[in-house]
């Protein structure tokens, strides 16, 4: 893959997350019954940041869980490589909660679809929101995000890489091009 450009730097990522946190609080009319669930891997780091930001703004720490969608993928009967099954841990009752699902990039919508099924198997939230740092288009399913850090039109041959301090040592969003083989 060839590096093309940096789409968001550290400050821009921070501002985008800060705005999302404010929007979540506003839309939910406070933090009552609010919780966050991060999707592996970068969604978890982003969800942690949002929980911290919500606490900073509202003075209350809301619960957070982590979700692995591997066992809910719709392509397990046809893929070549075997994806690793990772931890799912939702240490609170989802019943009646307003859940903010957090992922790094919204692309085809298939991860979000799988995440909705995985979440609903764990309980019955009163509603589910979707928050993503980047929406890059090219949806294959009727799914949209409620909170978006940045809309970035891309081509299908490009790859959007979200980096986080926790997983990659820096906060950034980068655009890469897949090499023609």
């Amino acid at each position: 893959m060839i590096f093309k450009s940096k789409l968001l730097n550290e400050d821009e990522v921070r501002r985008a997350l800060t705005r999302i946190a404010h929007e979540v609080i506003e839309k939910n009319k406070g933090v009552d019954r609010l919780c966050f669930v991060g999707i592996h891997t970068r969604g978890i780091s982003l969800a942690k940041r949002l929980v911290d930001l919500v606490e900073k703004f509202e003075g209350k720490r809301v619960p957070m869980g982590i979700l692995d969608i591997t066992l809910y993928r719709d392509d397990l009967s046809e893929i070549g490589l075997q994806p690793k099954v990772r931890e799912t841990r939702i240490p609170f009752d989802l019943g009646g909660k307003a859940v903010v699902l957090v992922d790094d990039v919204l692309y085809t919508g298939r991860t979000a679809r799988a995440a909705l099924d995985a979440l609903i198997d764990q309980g019955r939230p009163s509603r589910i929101y979707l928050a993503v740092l980047v929406d890059r288009g090219h949806r294959e399913l009727p799914i949209r995000a409620d909170f978006v850090g940045k809309n970035l039109p891309t081509s299908k041959s490009e790859v959007v890489k979200v980096k986080t301090l926790e997983d990659d040592g820096e906060d950034a969003v980068e655009l890469w091009e897949v090499e023609a083989s």
């Binding site: 891997t41 066992l71 009967s77 070549g80 490589l81 075997q82 690793k84 099954v85 841990r89 198997d121």
Partner: protein
Amino acid sequence: MSESATPSFPKHLLDFRDWNRRQVESLLETAQMMQEVLARPVKKVPALTGFTVATVFFEPSTRTRISFELAARRMSADVVSFSGATSSTTKGETYRDTLRTLDQMGIDAYILRTDAAGVPHQAHRWLHKPVINAGDGWRAHPTQALLDAFTLREKLGSLEGKKIAIVGDILHSRVARSNAELLPMLGATVVACGPATLLPGSLPGATLTTSLREALYEADAVMVLRLQKERMEKGLLPSLPEYIAAYQVNRERLGWAKPQAPLLHPGPMNRDVELEGTLADSAQSLVERQVANGQAVRMAVLYHVLVGKS
């Protein structure tokens, strides 16, 4: 979707000859994730939707079959059961013809138990489909060894340098053979113990001894095997009381092992024969935990054998 792929896995589990330590450890990690699925209110995931799995048991078994069938159903696979004892094999059909007949019905994977050793290997060659050995003769019972390893690791942490004693009828035990193959791969030392008539000439992976004290001395865990009554009829044992006097694992003898050394038994158990009855219900016993873990381990095996092209 972000990829985090596991090492590639053999598309069969006949024994551990084609598996390496990394693959086994990765499988045990997946089993840990399956435990979480089993702890949910909805104990079912769609991972194997569209796959059809056949349990083909030419030898009677209830618990292993139920454990496999539940594991497959919890992964959303369709399951068909073929029981050799009640089906066409009693009418003279060969293993090969039976399996080929089933293969025409679009089975994606076979879980096979046979009284003859080596049939799962043959079946793997005949069918070109994933085959999971659920026990073949005295040779191998790999999912039992995996669930034992999983249960031991849950209790002891890493098995590196740990001494595991296996006591009982080693000669006729596929459980002993599979554990002797698997546990050393994970760093453990295996000592197998029984009367001379019930020990094999050699057991790759394990040290053999007729001394129970030597086997249990400083052991980190003790695995007790079922003593089958028909061994007496074949003259391999003089009498039950004599076996009990020399080889029953009781509270006093368990004291030779490390304090609180966990106790395992693959079941079904003969209380007060190979094991002092009350020990099976003591805090040291992991017998029920083994059964519970069996399902998670078999879910992991199905996942690794079925998902992804080799």
